[in-house]
Symmetry: C2
Subunit: 342 residues, 2 copies
Amino acid sequence: MPELRQNFATKEWVVIATERARRPEQMVQHRERKVIAPFVSSCPFCPGNEGLTPPELLRVPASPDAPWHVRVVPNKFAALSRDVQPTRTVHRSRRTVNGFGAHDVIIETPDHSQILALMPDSYVAEILRVYKTRYDELSLDPRVAHITIFKNHGPDAGTSLEHPHSQLVATPVISHQVRERFQHAMRHYDDYGECMFCQMIEEELQDESRIVMVSEHFVAMELYASPAPFCTHIYPRRHMASFGDVGAAEINDLSRVLRTLLAKLYHGLADPDFNFTIRSAPAENVGVKYFHWYLSIIPRLTRVAGFELGSGMFINTVLPEAAAEFLRKVDAEAAGTAVAGS
Amino acid sequence: MPELRQNFATKEWVVIATERARRPEQMVQHRERKVIAPFVSSCPFCPGNEGLTPPELLRVPASPDAPWHVRVVPNKFAALSRDVQPTRTVHRSRRTVNGFGAHDVIIETPDHSQILALMPDSYVAEILRVYKTRYDELSLDPRVAHITIFKNHGPDAGTSLEHPHSQLVATPVISHQVRERFQHAMRHYDDYGECMFCQMIEEELQDESRIVMVSEHFVAMELYASPAPFCTHIYPRRHMASFGDVGAAEINDLSRVLRTLLAKLYHGLADPDFNFTIRSAPAENVGVKYFHWYLSIIPRLTRVAGFELGSGMFINTVLPEAAAEFLRKVDAEAAGTAVAGS
């Protein structure tokens, strides 16, 4: 029997389509991945081509003489511009803010062929520390209302450049979706005196069926009303509204959890295209008791079609409990791209 | 200078990325479309294979002896089931409704190779009348809360079957997104005493720059804060909350407007993959003064990536005014798939 489930935090309904259900291993896309070279002379993110990017915002290690591990540069084709004051205009039904914003590219490694899932945890921690440095710096800019950190891996996830990189976009407005989710979270806090995410995390830890992994500081799980197969959320176990609140030990722990999950997807689902994104409180809401930041990994195994576009509801063809069980079993340290269960 | 624009009806912000902007004609995807045969012996929707679908719900013309033009059958792989009573359960953070619902497939033509954009208007009108008949019938079922009608054209739009068809899904819940947009519309009405869509349509008709076409009963336009290139909305010019309110003359007029727009996309953008969907008031809100139904056509020319998934904001690389001007100029009656401007 199919079932509709409601996301506790967002109120969104998802159709868990058991009649069309697929076993987790049926979601593996058997396709040729082309062999990628570690250095591509025309790639603007490869070492030696630093002059092809706009001037660097950050480099790790900081010394200009040492070979870099991670670089941050402004996006050459930025969707938004740093050089203006955000100004809002309202003319009847037409509402506009001029395009102030920051659009960073975080070049994750000099190695064109490397991928996060197979990097050492300590290297992933360097990248996450860079996220936090840029997040903290941009949060101080009074023109910035909200910051989104994200990564696109593979063409179905919208990557245009092959070299491993993530992005950060700071906007002068808070999106309607974010604002609206905040209002739910605040109402829940006002009704029950607790963070709705903290409550949900506690219940899921008791239930266990949707938990993928638990570390000292984080828990990774499939949502009860997961909108898509293998969409996996990582929540800090202590209450924290903003990614900017994360501590040094927590970053190290997060790097291990994130890297392990990406490796489970890589080995278990044959390197699927995916996005991940950090959903954090807007700058003006740092420290609130009712919101909880999280990192969401969204493998792009299915296509959004007319039903989703027309109704705002998603159809998920893999039971979240089955996806969690599958991911728990995948050996994150396996060699190659062996498919679990095959 | 890039610009953020807010959708008046949904409150969603869109980045109009003029720095990355593309001229409309640059959005044409030059690709091989395979030649499609008018009859495919293994296709469950082709004539002679009627026994491969579940029993028919509707046929046009009604006579079982005449060759059919349009057939409606339950989706064999329905996401939801007709045979249950919707029952809601709430267990702390876990909220569920069992999977009651209807999932119709509307087989638009016996011809496997035909496409809506190239059909006679009168044939498209037959299909729209079938939408309305099914919409009206399901609206009477007290278990149905909301009905979404949609079409997926091409693989990037999520089609799994090539034979031309649309779908209708009736759900036992109103999606959070729909509910939330209703609340905005209601608040606007309570504040200003008019339908926000009627206001927006009137302003756009005065402004003209985003209008693609106007008929006796409908207006087709790019939204001021259009979330994607060439996303085109068709609104009834008189106030109507529900698609079920549309009259016979209006259906005929709509078929001409819809077919013309699809032909403009087909000729102008070389048969892009697209979805369309009818966004109508939930069954319990028929007749409200504050909501306005519309048909939304969404060409699938760009990919949703991490920024959109993480922020709920979209980036549109084609200026809505430029898209409207481009579509106005495309000859909907052109032969072949000649590209305007090339």
